[in-house]
């Protein structure tokens, strides 16, 4: 197995119609020192805030227990004992799927209680676990748990979902018993056959929204979550911003933009000028789309290199959009950068540290953020909220 496949982990969630909160919860944790990835999906009893609370308590506790390598059965008992009892149904309940993966070796453990069974696909082939056992708690004899041990390898995908997916379309003439796990798996296989490199993000979204389309009137009748883990060769993005501190580094700096292993974005006018000059290329900025520019300078293309945008204002807006998790009214340049972030697993910022004298102009109507601060903020957001691997190199 490749020593460092990237673990792309995505979950698409759709909230039941009429509810303000999703009754499913998905949480994850990455321990860089062990290259260990833990993900938990829980479906709380009922829907709305109450279900959300149950699911959230379950994912939070499960993540902590797994991380501290606590005994599985004891952990599950603690979770079930802790959940508040539903006044209507007189039971406490939240299902869960826990995935604990050591990405270096591919050894993975999946612990399931009540959720639809996970699917492991190698290409389009389903891979069974090499061992599976059942655990039953004395205190909760009706809550069986299965623990599956499996081997993930580069290119494998793990799909797990809430019953909003597998029970989609229940009672409809064409699927009386719902979409079921098999229907979902066949759909995923077809998608992978058509698009072998389909990302975890795209696959999870397509499955979740297809489940919705099976429901009568395309209504979301139950909280619907689909999580996908994909072990892939990382898609690498390099964001180059700011001129180098020493002019002697210009050539080395420009060579970084020419590296074919990376998708490249250049953020900054002076930066792009240096790269244009060193690589003997040029930037084209099409003003035809200026109506979508939305208060930011429009993006351009540097022949043979990649996208070019303005620097500080654009990156500041990108950080704000990342923070708000919304693309609403996103200016074109920021939208394009966010799209490229989405399509990347590993993001490397190359930050030139020379101060731009033009930014010190006292007639500027607003204070410009300091480049290093924005990039640092972007890094934190991309790691903590978007599960990306991010590095910053100053030059």
């Amino acid at each position: 197995m490749n020593s460092s496949p990237f673990v792309e982990m995505e979950c698409c969630q759709i909230t039941k119609d009429g509810q303000s909160a999703c009754g499913d919860d998905f949480q994850w944790e990455r321990d860089e020192s062990e290259n260990r990835h833990i993900a938990v999906l829980s479906d709380g009893l009922g829907s709305g805030i109450k279900a959300n609370l149950l699911a959230n308590m379950t994912t939070t506790m499960a993540l902590k227990f797994m991380h501290s390598d606590a005994d599985i059965l004891q952990s599950a008992e603690t979770i079930m004992d802790s959940l508040p009892v539903c006044e209507v149904r007189k039971i406490s309940y939240a299902t869960f799927t826990i995935v604990d993966m050591l990405a270096g070796s591919g050894r993975t453990r999946v612990i399931e209680m009540g959720n639809p069974g996970y699917i492991q696909l190698r290409g389009t082939r389903e891979i069974p676990p090499f061992s599976r056992r059942t655990l039953v708690s004395k205190n909760w004899p009706d809550r069986e748990m299965t623990v599956s041990e499996l081997q993930m390898t580069l290119g494998d995908r793990l799909i797990f979902c809430s019953d909003g997916v597998t029970q989609a379309g229940l009672g409809q003439p064409h699927c009386k018993f719902g979409w079921r796990r098999e229907g979902c798996m066949e759909f995923a296989r077809k998608l992978i056959e058509d698009t072998p490199d389909i990302s975890a993000r795209e696959l999870s979204r397509t499955i979740a929204f297809n489940a919705l389309s099976i429901n009568k009137g395309r209504r979301c009748v139950d909280d619907t979550s689909c999580a996908v883990i994909y072990l892939r060769n990382p898609r690498k993005l390099r964001v180059i911003t700011g001129p180098p501190f020493h002019k002697e580094d210009d050539a080395k700096f420009a060579a970084m933009a020419a590296d074919r292993d990376y998708t490249v974005i250049i953020c900054g006018g002076t930066t792009s000028n240096i790269i244009q000059r060193e690589l003997h290329t040029r930037v084209e900025i099409d003003l035809a789309q200026v109506k979508y520019a939305g208060g930011l300078p429009p993006p351009g293309e540097m022949a043979g290199v990649g996208m070019v945008t303005e620097g500080i204002l654009t990156l500041t807006r990108v950080a704000a959009l990342l923070e708000s998790h919304s693309l609403e009214d996103a200016p074109l340049a920021a939208h394009k950068i966010l799209d490229r972030f989405d399509e990347s697993d590993v993001i490397e910022f190359i930050v030139g540290t020379k101060v731009n004298e033009a930014h010190q102009d006292p007639s500027l109507p607003v204070d410009l953020e300091i480049r290093r601060n924005i990039v640092k903020k972007l890094k934190d957001l991309l790691i903590n909220e978007y599960r990306k691997k991010v590095t910053i190199q100053y030059i």
């Binding site: 244009q276 930037v283 003003l287 300078p297 303005e310 033009a358």
Partner: protein, 90 residues
């Protein structure tokens, strides 16, 4: 048809904030008398703002001639001058 007049607008941070954003609107909103006679493109920062002798942001270039302190009116006037056979070439 005669060759179009080339209008290039600096898209650098300083120019953009000091008025280039409005000038860029000419790309889709050219006055009727100039419409069809001008090719508008964006330009990565020319660093003109670092040279005090060249004027102040925002900067545009019309058929190669650099113009500082540019405004929409000034740019349109210059374009009209060129369209009517006036103006110089640098």
């Amino acid at each position: 048809m005669a060759e179009k007049i080339k209008l290039e607008i600096c898209c650098g941070t300083t120019c953009f904030m000091l008025g280039a954003a409005e000038i860029m609107q000419l790309a889709t909103n050219m006055p009727p008398d100039l419409d069809g006679h001008v090719e508008v493109t964006g330009l990565a920062c020319m660093n003109a703002c670092l040279n005090e002798n060249l004027g102040h942001s925002p900067f545009v270039r019309i058929d190669g001639k650099l113009i500082g302190n540019a405004t929409v009116e000034m740019v349109c006037d210059e374009l009209r001058k060129r369209l009517n056979g006036g103006g110089d070439n640098e």
